[in-house]
């Protein structure tokens, strides 16, 4: 195994890698920007290398600095985490050119999967299901009907030149096509000067479900089941669960096979995630994330496998050492991302200095957190500060456990999305497992669902009353001298 690796990242994911590496007797080199000198990843790594710089561009994204850090600390490999340089194929190539091991997939696989349109066409050729539709636009009703019969209803007619949802029409059967095409095309012509339309299968109640895969260098690969990530807003996930409440063993096998096919089509190696859109029991390739995913812990909890450990092992050249049959999913796991954001104000980012922390604990509660008192949360870095993960023998228990854990959590100094997650976990559609990617945005998150507003008002006013009382009891001018004398005494211990 590696003796020493460098982690080209920060925050909770750097910490995540450090933890497993430490358990494997692999030393970690943390790199850190100026604002991160006190960070947990800097403190908990065996070695820490200052990159200097305040912004990501001056530090974690500076390829030269990162490579120099690896060289000067004698690291043998680089783990990129997620974000930053993790899906940068040039960086992967530079790492290998420097004689280091890249703990990630081959650069070519990153490139192949990095192109949204190209990767879908590639996947289509590899036999992985993609959303049915044409690669060329249609110009009139007749062509549109012909295409629709091939694709299958319902159809989404999208303006060829359009964007932002403008000009989209949902067509549920052939009889609706003519009117829909004429209206949409006219609208598109007016708006964009181009009336051509793309017909594509319309996915009703779409769910975002992804498959975790792991491949070694020796041609062995498995999938580790799915993760359901449909609780999101603007494509930012908030709550994830594993398994998905709608995936049957047969569907899991089919999606797993598709994910393995997708990975093999690009010569994959290491940990990766194949994302699908699922609608009415059908699944369609969306994209592949060629790195460890934020939400990987829920797969770990359910499969009992440490994915970072597997990443290090296969990067070092070890055989995977287990087969698809060895992958067993036991129980249910849920993750909530603790982001610095304000769910009552459209999830706008929240900044401040972290304090007043109260962490949840007890049975089957896991916290992957970069939080510490004094952490300055600004805008330079990812607002994802921690991940709260629970496991339970069944979905009902996992939901109840997550609610309980969220009630125990407090993060002071900023606002987080945790109350929105708690709200989701109490909503009937979520409890029933009957939700899609639009669900979170459909909720009014300003609502006081616990009905404790009056208690909060009373407590806040009592707080103010105590503050005022304390001020009133502070020493006045006459007694101030004695007060200072006392302060002098206390500090005279040195």
């Amino acid at each position: 195994m590696f003796k020493r690796i460098l982690i080209a990242n920060r925050g909770e994911i750097a910490l995540r890698v450090i933890r497993t590496a430490r358990e494997m007797d692999v030393e970690c080199v943390a790199i850190y920007s100026e604002p991160d000198a006190s960070s947990l990843h800097t403190r908990f790594a065996e070695l820490a290398y200052p990159l200097g710089g305040k912004t990501p561009a001056e530090s974690y994204l500076d390829v030269e600095k990162v490579l120099r850090a690896a060289k000067e600390t004698g690291a043998e490999a680089i783990h990129p985490g997620y974000g930053f340089l993790s899906e940068n194929a040039d960086f992967a190539r530079r790492v290998e050119a420097a004689g280091l091991v890249w703990i990630g997939p081959p650069a070519d696989a990153i490139v192949a999967m990095g192109d949204k349109i190209g990767s879908r066409q590639l996947m289509g050729k590899a036999g992985v299901p993609i959303v049915p539709g044409l690669s060329e636009p249609v110009a009139d009703v007749a062509e549109s009907i012909a295409a629709a019969n091939e694709i299958g209803y319902p159809i989404a007619l999208k303006a060829s030149a359009g964007g932002g949802g403008k000009g989209i029409r949902i067509v549920r059967e052939e009889s609706e096509m003519e009117a829909a095409f004429r209206n949409a095309s006219a609208e598109a012509l007016t708006s964009f000067g181009d009336g051509r339309m793309y017909p594509e299968r319309y996915l009703e109640k779409p769910r975002h479900i992804e498959i975790q895969v792991m491949f070694d260098r020796h041609g062995n690969g498995v999938h580790l089941g799915e993760r359901e990530c449909s609780i999101q807003r603007r494509h930012q996930k908030l709550v994830e669960e594993c398994p998905s409440p709608i995936v049957t063993p047969e569907m899991r096998a089919a999606m797993g096979k598709a994910a393995i096919d997708a990975a093999q089509a690009v010569g994959y190696r290491g940990a990766g995630t194949v994302e699908f859109l699922v609608s009415k029991g059908e699944f369609f390739f969306l994209e592949m994330n060629t790195r460890l995913q934020v939400e990987h812990p829920i797969t770990e909890m359910v499969t009992g496998r440490d994915l970072v450990r597997d990443q290090l092992r296969v990067a070092y050249g070890e055989k995977l050492g287990y087969t698809q049959d060895d992958v067993k999913m036991t129980g249910w796991s849920i993750e909530v991302r603790i982001n610095a954001e304000d769910p009552t104000n459209n999830f706008l980012p929240s900044t401040g200095t972290i304090g007043n922390l109260r962490f949840p604990g007890g049975p089957w509660v896991r916290l992957d957190s970069a939080l510490y008192p004094g952490l300055e949360v600004g805008l330079n870095y990812d607002p994802m500060l921690a991940k709260l993960i629970v496991w339970g023998p069944d979905r009902d228990t996992a939901i109840r456990r997550m609610r309980r854990a969220l009630e125990e959590l407090n993060v002071g100094g900023i606002s987080t999305g945790a109350p929105a997650a708690l709200r989701v976990l109490n909503e009937k559609p979520f409890i029933d497992g009957d939700y899609d990617t639009h669900f979170l945005e459909s909720l009014d998150l300003k609502q006081d669902s616990r009905n404790l507003g009056a208690v909060a008002a009373a407590a806040a006013c009592v707080h103010r009353w105590h503050l005022a009382r304390r001020r009133a009891l502070q020493p006045d001018a006459g007694s101030r001298a004695g007060w200072i004398d006392r302060a002098r005494r206390i500090t005279s211990d040195f």
Partner: protein, 169 residues
Amino acid sequence: MKYFAKVNDHDHEVEVIERLGELLITVDGKPIDLKYHAVDEDGQIALQVGQFSYGASIDGGAHECALTIAGSRYRVEIEDERERAAAAAARAKGGGGDLKSVMPGVVVQIFVKPGDEVQEGQSLLILEAMKMQNEIDAPVTGTVDTIYVTEGQAVAGAEKLLKITAAPE
């Protein structure tokens, strides 16, 4: 002491009276049996309402704070009678004042200029934070007095953006 507390946009009147060392509290005229015990200096509170217990957390100061009770967050703005009267007087003689950024970000576009008359709710500028563009609206009807920022400028949280003189009510 009488307070006016706005909790997530709902108004409550809270009265806190000390009698024989105990606090008597009413909310909206109804007495509430609330025990408030500060656990530490950081904002952990042992809160009891009747027999019920809440491990609550408080962030903030005398005028604005956030209570987190059993995982739900309540933002509270508090005025006492004097402050409320002063605010009303300010509004009556044309209040308004400085409009501050609610978060750090970059000013993308400014729609108004000094001297413009604006309606409450009218878009004044766009502030981009993280990858999102946010319209900043006029909180009151009035006249734009000063604009402190320029397009493209990065601003911190709670930085002054512009000043509006409110129209008399």
